[in-house]
Subunit: 228 residues, 2 copies
Amino acid sequence: MSETAASGPDRQPIWSRPERGSRGPAPAHSRDAIVVAAINLADTEGLAAVSMRAVAAALGTGAGSLYRYLSSRDDLLDLMTDRAVGELRPYPQVEGDWLETMVLLGRRQLALFGAHPWLLDVIHRPSGIGPQSLAWFDNCIRILEPVRCPVAAKFETIAMMTGVVSLFARRESAAGAFSFAGVDLAAYPHLVAAFSQPSGPAPRADLVERTLRSLLTGLLLGEPTDAG
Amino acid sequence: MSETAASGPDRQPIWSRPERGSRGPAPAHSRDAIVVAAINLADTEGLAAVSMRAVAAALGTGAGSLYRYLSSRDDLLDLMTDRAVGELRPYPQVEGDWLETMVLLGRRQLALFGAHPWLLDVIHRPSGIGPQSLAWFDNCIRILEPVRCPVAAKFETIAMMTGVVSLFARRESAAGAFSFAGVDLAAYPHLVAAFSQPSGPAPRADLVERTLRSLLTGLLLGEPTDAG
DNA sequence: TGTAAACCGCAAACGCCGTTCGCGATTTGT
DNA sequence: ACAAATCGCGAACGGCGTTTGCGGTTTACA
């Protein structure tokens, strides 16, 4: 009736569970190697391709063997997320004002979502926060130190910034995949009127930055905008 | 070698596929009844409980029978989404200015996400837009008619508003489910410093509305905020 | 040093999933 | 009347995450 470190009734989160015990033979793989294989799979073939069997096959073993290193697929996704967040390092030293630094961090997040689109499907799960994510939070709090407002507001703002960046990232990857196939557009007069309109040039430019700036100032400093 | 209306190589989207042919016996169920059962299941037990077998069982039939009415589970999710979006009706007549009307719509969306939390896991899939969603878009475009800006900007703004509302909805349903279990907080000095701070009162209030207002004006009317 | 406990990789199996298929029965168009 | 189309149904297929039991390997401790 032995209880391996990984299986069993999931007593502790993955972050504090030791990777291996001290008794048995040396493991053929490592937790990080598994995570790297899973991330490569997700990057190239999408998150749906990250099945325990596929990840195990990429490492030349069987699905069941992975459970020597992690206790569930959710654990694997948590580890993938935290490792990807680690790619946001190194964090910029605070030089200018906090707003510019936060916007810079937002653009880094956007790039990260571009490099690992599967993050969009993974970050919204309720799960334990890993050390790299904590380091990122810690860094944001440090940057926001000069801002005079309750801590809760800072946390909410950081989360909201990440969320808004994820929305922009999704828009870029979806790239107008709207499909009006199969519906009779005649029932939506304002839509067809808008579409028949000559549609001026795309207002792109620094839309993300402008949005982030407006969001950060709006959430952290009372209300600087009141266009009524 | 007959080809049923629902099965086969998925020639046309669900919205234009006729619910039944004219030949055979009367169907025991209906597309809408299936969708209602699925929505009830999702509302009470979560989206994961919406399996073809479970939905069929709720209707007193077998999983395979559902494929007489829809061609895939994705179709079912699309139908569920569109039916839920239909609950946003009736749409308010434009009375005041467009900004207030849009903010009102945003609050309605927030309420919808609260009533059907599974929408949060479903709206981000690339899929065909249903008639109710189109009607909602049509209404938004109508409200934004007095705004002088390219159509593309209006569409992006509507999508971004929906996205931001979904972020707030997620925050409300998650309700601070952060779990720092299993990590050594000592490595994150700014975090512990922020937490040890007496943390003023929650700045809640009309955070959603303020954010939406700032977002809408920022995206549609150049840049009214420039807190540099 | 001997031995028992702990750990390894592996393959088979379990229960669930979405989906397909073939069947007999039923209704409709011509 | 008869063929074509559709119905409900149950069995089956392949894939999934996960568990389990096994023989072999390594370590801790008496």
